[in-house]
């Protein structure tokens, strides 16, 4: 196989801080190389250094060669021609990579006309062909759709079509599936693999999650603090990785079970959801007929017992977030009821303030979950609003320090502001905020989806510890079966607003009854089991 990309002795510094140290890599035609590391390990910077898209103040040394031609010595104008034509790139967030006001066919065609002097018709034809290849054809007017009309997976396909329309010899994909649900993830990964194989295109796949790329890559390079600590064939890294860092990434990606394994069938039910229906009104289509409302949640019943961990699984749009809002009494249901600790729990019910102490929540976005203007102590103490006599001054500080200690933070962190913490630390603070009223149930809405595997591992371990100590029940709402399998005692599978399957975690995983559950399980990326 001919070599497409060769990097030798690449180092990048920003100011005086070294970001990448002496990295050497190569990718052959048709080969898939996985570049793996925790967040902050320099893998994204490596990808950007190849494209010469480094932030200002960054300096790069070393050589980057594409098909033998040195990219490092090219002028900016020459480099512009290389980007998009010889090297394609796709990013994590498919929404922000597309222009929201431009039709997708035009966006792909634009890439063509930037690099080749062709007529508008020819560019559109090339765009159509590229969109065909990524599986976005079939429907009429496929080229005329706008990004907001597409799902996340479809948008990522458009981004891929833009990246490959010029038939580049190298494609760089930076966390291409992190923002997608499992089924879209599996489809996008398969698409990338097929494109690389069929076109003999080199593929550099950057990710933090070894499980995602285990079945896809030919070779894997592991990156830690700006250095390649280990590289070799996928087989070799996955089964005989020598470096302790590789081992810890593998262990984190594999997600050992963290359940408390206590039998809780006899425990009292703390939360009951009974026949909940949630409908959103739709805009009426004509003057004469009322629009039928959209049923986001369609007659769901479930229950959570004291101290157990329950998983609620479904892909995006399955209604799980709407259901969660009803369970948290943030949204009134159209029919059915929720009861918490034996009392009716919905907005406007009597004694809501007292009841709300019983259920708290941790949200997905570690950045948006906190008011940026409040210090940690005030943030963590916010649910004290629910108490009749909230603790003041020294007592408040003491209680906040106590929960911060429980989640592995320092009491001194209470005076700092959220932007001073990393994503994992912020999720710990969010857990502290949920714990402070000593609730019976904590709901986690995709709470570990935005974290890298190593941090995710730490947070899940912390949660398992806390569950054992505090007898609090967890409700995990997520699309990630991998996480659910590791932590949940029981799971509910949700599709189009209905619960289609429920049961003890292992029995559902070992013998799924519903076709949709089987599809979800098959789509979940998994590492091969260790041999010897």
């Amino acid at each position: 196989m001919s070599e497409v990309l060769r990097i030798e002795g690449l180092s990048v510094t920003i100011g005086a801080t070294p970001i990448i140290k002496n990295v050497s890599l190569s990718v052959a035609a048709g080969e898939i190389l996985g570049l793996v590391g925790a967040s902050g390990s320099g893998k994204t910077m490596t990808a950007r250094a190849i494209m010469r898209l480094l932030p200002p103040h960054a300096g790069a040394t070393g050589s980057v060669r594409l098909r033998g031609e040195s990219l490092s010595s090219m002028s900016d104008v020459q480099m512009q021609a290389v980007r998009g034509r010889d090297v394609g790139m796709i990013f994590q967030e498919p929404m922000s990579a597309l222009n929201p006001l431009m039709r997708i066919g035009d966006q792909v065609a634009e890439t063509v006309s930037l690099h080749r002097a062709v007529s508008r018709q020819a560019a559109r034809a090339a765009a159509r062909e590229a969109l065909d290849q990524v599986g976005l054809s079939g429907e009429a007017g496929a080229l005329d759709r706008l990004p907001f009309e597409l799902s996340g997976g479809q948008r990522q396909r458009v981004a891929i079509a833009m990246a490959v329309v010029m038939a580049p010899c190298l494609l760089i994909a930076d966390e291409p599936t992190t923002a997608l649900d499992v089924i879209s993830q599996a489809q996008v990964l398969a698409l990338l693999r097929d494109l690389a194989r069929l076109r003999g295109m080199g593929l550099l796949l950057v990710t933090h999650d070894l499980a995602v790329i285990a079945q896809l890559t030919d070779r894997i390079a592991v990156m830690q603090q700006g250095e390649i600590v280990e590289q070799g064939s996928a087989e070799q890294i996955l089964h005989h990785g020598r470096q302790p860092y590789t081992q810890s990434l593998l262990a984190a990606a594999r997600l050992q079970a963290k359940r408390m394994a206590k039998s809780r069938v006899d425990a009292a039910e703390v939360l009951q959801v009974d026949g909940v229906v949630l409908e959103y009104p739709r805009r009426r289509r004509s003057l004469f007929s009322a629009a039928s409302p959209l049923r986001a949640v369609d007659g769901v019943s479930l229950s959570i017992r004291a101290g157990e961990t329950v998983g609620l699984v479904g892909e995006s749009g399955s209604g799980k977030s709407s259901l969660l809002k009803v369970m948290l009494a943030l949204q009134k249901s159209s029919h059915g009821q929720v009861s918490l600790l034996g009392n009716s729990f919905s907005a406007g019910a009597p004694a809501m303030k007292r009841l709300r102490r019983g259920i708290q929540a941790v949200f997905q976005d570690p950045v948006g979950s906190f008011d940026p203007r409040w210090p940690v102590e005030r943030l963590v103490a916010e649910p004290f609003f629910l108490l009749d006599r909230p603790p003041r001054a020294a007592e408040r500080s003491r209680r906040v320090a106590e929960v911060l200690n429980q989640v592995g933070m320092n009491a001194s962190d209470a005076q700092r502001y959220p932007h001073e913490f990393s994503g994992g630390q912020r999720q710990r603070i969010a857990i502290a905020r949920a714990l402070i009223t000593q609730p019976a149930v904590i709901a986690f809405d995709e709470a570990v989806s935005a974290l890298d595997v190593l941090v995710r591992e730490q947070i899940l371990r912390l949660l398992a510890q806390l569950a054992g100590r505090l007898n609090v029940a967890y409700l995990f709402v997520t699309h990630d079966l991998h996480v659910i399998r590791a932590i949940a005692d029981r799971i509910y599978v949700m599709q189009r607003g209905r619960i289609i399957e429920e049961g003890a975690t292992e029995s559902v995983f070992n013998s799924p009854q519903h076709a949709y559950t089987r599809a979800l399980i098959e789509a979940t990326p998994a590492l091969p089991h260790t041999r010897g």
Partner: protein
């Protein structure tokens, strides 16, 4: 880098110029070189000299003293108008964003109603009905400021409502109004400060405009707009009478806009 420096320059120059005018206006509360209302026909139409630094007008009044007095009127009227606009507009915007639905619709359509009239026309209408004067000018300009602040704070608040920390506050049992007050309003602060500087500069222009057509501050209260009006017939004879208040207004408004621009870029940068 250049972007950063540009912000620093516009912020520094804008803040400096604005501060100068506000200091002058405050000083005019206590002291001016001459009494701006003192007529002295003998010394009329003197060009700038050592005794009268900026000369005298057709009635022999000291132009520097008039200018300082005019600054006082200008700053006073514009500031009060911004205050009226923010005091009524920001709560309306917060309520519209928090309540949604028909309340939102009602508040915003009422705003559109005010917006439908050109600002100066509305001001002329009000002062014509209620009589000319500084107080009525404040009210007229203030009313025009209300929908501006309402729209800006509604847009900012709607965005803040999409963040998870408002969900967290609702899980903590807080109501919409309390969240608006504790979480939404403080996060709009940067946006509102920028809008306030812009409305301030528009207020300065509007005050001068009203005074120019005789509907603002009435004689003998000094005003830049009336100075311009009175200088109009004397431009060939005493050009400084038109130039001086004109330049003062130009630099004050420019300073305020630079300040607003600098603050805007600064607040975009903040986390």
């Amino acid at each position: 880098m250049s972007e950063h420096t540009a912000r620093n320059w516009s912020l520094a120059i804008g803040a400096g110029v604005t501060a100068c005018f506000i200091v002058v206006a405050l000083l005019a509360l206590f002291w001016t070189p001459f009494d701006p209302q003192l007529l002295n026909i003998v010394d009329k139409l003197q060009p700038p000299n050592a005794h009268h630094w900026l000369g005298t007008d057709q009635l022999g009044r000291d132009v520097l003293s008039l200018l300082m007095g005019g600054a006082k009127t200008s700053v006073g009227v514009a500031l009060l108008a911004v205050f009226i606009g923010a005091a009524a507009g920001v709560p309306l915007g917060l309520i519209a964003a928090a309540a949604q639905g028909s309340v939102d619709e009602a508040v915003m359509r009422a705003n559109d109603l005010i917006f439908a009239f050109p600002a100066l026309l509305l001001a002329i209408l009000i002062t014509a009905v209620f009589g000319p004067g500084a107080i009525n000018a404040v009210i007229a300009i203030g009313i025009f400021n209300i929908p501006v602040f309402a729209r800006v704070s509604r847009a900012g608040a709607l965005q803040a409502w999409t963040r998870d920390y408002t969900l967290a506050a609702r899980v903590a049992g807080k109501g919409r109004w309390r969240i608006s007050w504790e979480h939404i309003l403080p996060n709009l602060f940067g946006l509102l400060v920028v809008q306030a500087t812009i409305q301030f500069s528009l207020g300065v222009i509007a005050e001068a405009g009203l005074a120019y057509v005789g509907l603002g501050a009435q004689p003998p209260v000094p005003s830049w707009g009336r100075m311009l009006n009175e200088a109009q017939t004397l431009t060939a004879l005493a050009p400084w009478l038109a130039l001086i208040p004109g330049l003062a207004m130009l630099s004050f408004v420019l300073g305020l806009n630079l300040l607003g621009e600098g603050l805007r870029r600064g607040s975009e940068r903040a986390p």
